[in-house]
């Protein structure tokens, strides 16, 4: 049985329905990301789990117990905020010990946990500092230590990396993931950054307009998006208009493509198919289309080629190799892809 179960969650503010019939089960020790644009309801879901918002309908169960009616301070949950939210009047050590102190844990025991936690986040010597003396990344690590010190059943992370510099964001996300794995704690990570969601999570929930568009592993969400929204929101995507030729084939720009799996479409029906930039190759291959190079972008080890294929501009990624100079802008060339990389979108 799942450790955290959200069933039929609904939240309305006045006439505005922000979360619609949301279901999610999370296993013990799993890290699940809620990914979506701002206003998609991801933060509202998190705030309902934390207890700051009361669901209009639906239930929240942690470890088999219904906590829907419980107050935030009865739920034994850890929470990290975007704005750190350390108590400015307390030292780092007092911040970390806060949860234990309000629980009435004895001083000696508290001190032991503080030492342990500060070591865990790699700041063993900063216990006596005040928050204003720390960098943003250090503050956010202290916030993590504070959340973990009470041994919460569940860790909620509300865009904890958004306020930080790009470099610290990268190192901290690895660190958070490692600590989460080490402690085996169940976690929900809310973000609008797809790279963060894909790199950190066991599973990703892509949300839009208050509903879960797709729930799956990063691989599934990226490679097998089930809706047009997921396909366009996660990663870069090239879309082609196609025409169905029966259950196992379709036509793009007059070229017939045989599909490995059957699709539900009537002959002659219009379809949208998608291809990742890295699934396209220069030169002839399984399915080949003529193209004109329109632009080049160097992204370090990756070279992104903008080309016009069948009337639409597409992006094509190749590894940047010193021995193979890129094609000049304006060159007429061929691009190809494998039929199994083609994603047929339902929408």
């Amino acid at each position: 049985m799942a450790f955290l179960e959200l069933s039929n969650l609904v939240k309305t503010f006045g006439a505005n329905c922000v979360v619609k019939d949301f279901d999610l089960s999370i296993d013990r020790g799993e890290l699940v990301s809620l990914l979506g644009p701002s206003g998609c309801g991801k933060t509202t879901v998190l705030r309902m789990v934390a207890g700051f918002e009361t669901p209009t309908a639906g239930t929240i169960k942690i470890d088999g117990h219904d906590v829907t009616a419980q107050k935030p301070n009865e739920r034994a949950i850890g929470l990290m905020f975007q704005a750190y939210a350390l108590f400015p009047n307390m030292t780092v050590a007092d911040n970390v010990a806060f949860g234990l102190k309000v629980k009435g844990v004895a001083r000696a025991e508290r001190d032991k946990v503080v030492v342990e936690m500060l070591r865990l986040i790699g700041l063993p010597d900063l216990g006596g500092r005040f928050p204003f003396q720390l960098s943003g990344g250090q503050q956010q690590r202290v916030a993590l230590a504070r959340a973990l010190a009470v041994r919460p059943r569940l860790l909620l992370l509300d865009e904890p990396l958004s306020a930080l510099d790009a470099k610290i964001r990268l190192s901290l996300r690895t660190e958070i993931r490692e600590i989460q794995r080490e402690l085996g704690i169940t976690a929900i990570f809310v973000t609008h950054d797809q790279e963060e969601a894909l790199s950190m999570s066991d599973r990703v929930v892509v949300m839009n307009g208050g509903i879960a568009e797709q729930i799956g592993t990063p691989f599934e969400v990226y490679s097998r998006p089930t809706t047009r929204f997921v396909a366009t929101f996660v990663g870069t995507l090239n879309l082609f208009e196609a025409e169905a030729e029966g259950a196992g084939a379709l036509r793009i720009n007059g070229v017939t493509v045989r599909l490995p799996d059957e699709i539900e479409a009537t002959r002659g029906g219009r379809l949208t198919v998608a291809l990742r930039p890295e699934s396209l190759h220069l030169g002839a291959g399984e399915v080949t289309l003529p193209a004109t190079v329109e632009g080049l972008e160097f992204l370090g080890s990756i070279l992104r080629i903008k080309a016009r294929v069948a009337g639409t501009q597409i992006a094509l990624d190749t590894f940047n190799r010193a021995d193979a100079p890129p094609p000049a802008v304006g060159t007429k060339t061929l691009v190809s892809f494998a039929a199994r990389d083609l994603v047929v979108l339902n929408a």
Partner: protein, 292 residues
């Protein structure tokens, strides 16, 4: 260095820049510092101009001791009650879930009421709680409650307290609402998920963060009440024995029979105000270690 001469020539410019605030310092010296110093010095002088401690020792009469004690008590009580009541009202309006418009209304009203001190305020309270005041008569007619028989007299210490609260509470509200608005929602939520009750949040997080503001407000309210002459004078006339009233009578007619005793009396007020503020500054520095 490419040009040393330029560097040297730039040096004597410093006093010129200070000249820009000369008018301000001249004004402050003439109309704030020197008058105050005149009194401080006068407190240690004989009428002939020699040094003496006699003036200060002469303050030690029962009447003057009582006046100081009443003044300090009045300032402490009105500042304390003003802070407490203003704080509760500010919390109610900021965190009580009342419409935002109420907050604006309260702020505007507080701006008016905190400046509605002095003579007219005394009139308002006489018309309300005085012997023939609206509330006094109403209580007598409707409930047979005789305020006077219960020991309440507007022209006494507690009457003064009630009247002073009319400007002390709004002043507190004006000072503390911005501070309350500075409390971040995340602090409250972080405390809640860590298991703290509402009371624990206020005791361990919110109040310590607000402490410097509360302290500053208390010091300001204390000074505000200590120096209030007009309200007390218009309310009770010259008979109430508090320092500012005594001083007022002394300046007008040398009732103490020794002009330098007036200096000493005033010096005492400056010392009390000064002590209150030194206490405030020390406490504030101690409570603000966590501020930049």
């Amino acid at each position: 260095m490419p040009d040393n001469r330029l560097h040297q020539r730039a040096k004597p410019r410093l006093p010129v820049e200070w000249l820009g605030i000369f008018p301000f310092f001249a004004f402050v010296l003439l109309f704030l510092i020197m008058p105050t110093m005149k009194i401080v010095v006068g407190a240690f002088q004989t009428p002939a101009g020699g040094f003496t401690l006699h003036n200060l020792l002469d303050l030690n009469t029962e009447s003057i001791r009582n006046a100081y004690w009443t003044s300090i008590k009045l300032s402490l009580i009105t500042a304390g009650l003003g802070c407490a009541m203003g704080f509760v009202m500010a919390v109610a309006v900021v965190f009580g879930g009342v419409p935002k418009g109420i907050r604006g209304l309260l702020l505007t009203f507080s701006g008016v009421a905190s400046n509605f001190a002095g003579v007219p305020l005394a009139f308002a309270f006489i018309a309300t709680l005085g012997p023939a005041g609206l509330v006094t008569l109403w209580l007598k007619a409707e409930f047979s409650i005789n305020l006077r028989a219960l020991g309440f007299n507007l022209l006494s210490f507690w009457g003064l307290v009630v009247t002073y609260l009319f400007f002390q509470i709004p002043l507190m509200i004006l000072i503390i609402i911005p501070a309350l608005e500075g409390l971040k929602r995340e602090w409250r939520e972080a405390a809640a998920v860590l298991g703290a009750t509402g009371t624990q949040y206020w005791r361990m997080v919110a109040l310590p963060i607000l402490f410097p503001s509360l302290l500053g407000a208390f010091a300001l309210l204390f000074a505000n009440s200590l120096g209030a002459v007009a309200t007390a004078f218009a309310l009770t006339g010259p008979q109430l024995n508090i320092v500012p009233i005594k001083l007022f009578a002394q300046i007008r007619g040398d009732v103490l029979g020794n002009p330098n005793l007036g200096y000493a009396l005033t010096f005492g007020m400056i010392v009390i105000a000064g002590l209150a503020n030194v206490t405030y500054i020390v406490l504030r520095i101690r409570s603000e270690r966590w501020l930049k």
